[in-house]
Symmetry: C2
Subunit: 246 residues, 2 copies
């Protein structure tokens, strides 16, 4: 499963280094975004406004990563004229960092809610986010790990987990609507929690996207709009993880 | 302001043709997505479930466009090894179609709401979407037009209009929350309208993204995370629309 992304085949050692460097930056960016989401969820759980503030103030670092990695990818395309799996890697990186940046934005939205004050009664709304939060955080962790190793089996698992996150989100939405109907004065606060739930659901979708880019890289097939069955066939269709064409 | 995107400078007529073909496909995809949003809003306005159904059933055409254009871009990078403004055009296209596809998804979400039944009293909620809807539709139309001509002045205008759409969205959200507090039984219906409002707000954000890609193409500068003032300086910094480096 371990893939050195075929960089060893390049005649140019410099090209190898450039690809490795950009790949490492994606992993660092992923680590930072995962930390942001983790902190945003902890801030919600513990009403920790200072931690929430820390999430908000480090958003620019995520943006910087995106711009730097984008530039590095453009440089690689212009100078190295990558083909086949190298080009697919660059494109998978392009897409992955766009999703990572938006996951960072969603974490920021959640952190903003954590900065508000909720009274004792209202804390229950926040607690209802915990399950969905930890599930989505686990998806993000796993898909970043799958990206690091270009592990399509793990990517497929993340892809399939999103359905469960969606179901949990829907149950949570219904529960929060019930709260609103029972106590209309609490509506504005519950709405904040609902937006956070929506953010989490979207993060799950973006993890699913990243899983699709991993399969695109490894299999040379665009699986963004195919059925779950077709996705599974693409991943399992061959015993090897070797990219489709090199 | 009219730009033939410098395609005339290519020695290879075939390359010109390929770039033109892919650019035309983006414009067709944009036209389709604009139609989807228009129809979704009309379906809401007139409680036209048949029209809503039509939006839902043509979503696959948007996806097909995205996959085809992506493939064409990858082919161009692999075969033609574009540099400078050609490469920026391909990258701007990559990003634009990703946003267009998601605008299509949001239009689909709005169409789903239009398929539900609302009683006479609840119709007022739907009507409250109209202003924001027509504003966002106008932004989409304008940014697609700006893309067709790579008109950075028009792109800047769209970029600046988004703040107004955001304000309108916030006012609408407050209004809808008031409805919910006044009549808690109506909460599930109002929530549907709220999600549609959110979809419209997101479409505005995506129009803003596309405006940024236009500036990226024309000026060679990534303006995704810069201040509105810096964006304006980048656009107005030079009298000419000529790309920064060729």
């Amino acid at each position: 499963m371990d893939a050195n992304l075929n960089t060893s085949k390049h005649i140019s050692g410099k090209f190898n280094e450039e690809l490795e460097a950009v790949r490492n930056k994606v992993l660092s960016m992923g680590g930072l975004v995962e930390q942001q989401l983790h902190n945003a969820l902890m801030a919600i759980e513990n009403s920790d406004q200072e931690l929430a503030e820390r999430v908000l103030s480090s958003d620019h670092r995520v943006n910087d990563f995106e711009v730097q990695i984008d530039e590095a990818c453009i440089q690689i395309i212009a100078k190295r004229q990558p083909a086949a799996s190298d080009l697919r890697l660059v494109i998978a990186i392009f897409r992955t960092i766009a999703d990572l940046e938006r996951i960072g934005d969603e974490a920021e939205r959640i952190a903003r809610v954590a900065k508000e004050s909720f009274n004792k009664d209202q804390q229950q709304f926040l607690i209802s986010l915990e399950n969905l939060g930890s599930q989505v955080l686990a998806m993000l962790h796993k898909v970043l790990d799958a990206f690091a190793r270009m592990d399509i089996e793990a990517a497929l698992e993340v892809h399939q987990q999103d359905a469960q996150a969606d179901r949990q989100y829907e149950a949570l939405t219904r529960q929060l609507m019930t709260y609103m109907m029972e106590d209309p004065r609490g509506i504005p606060k519950v709405m904040d929690v609902l937006w956070s739930a929506r953010s989490l659901e979207r993060i799950g979708d973006r993890c699913q996207n990243i899983a699709e880019y991993i399969v695109f890289f490894a299999k040379g097939k665009d699986v963004r709009h195919v059925s779950p069955e077709s996705m599974e066939r693409t991943v399992k269709g061959s015993a090897s993880n070797k990219p489709a064409s090199d």
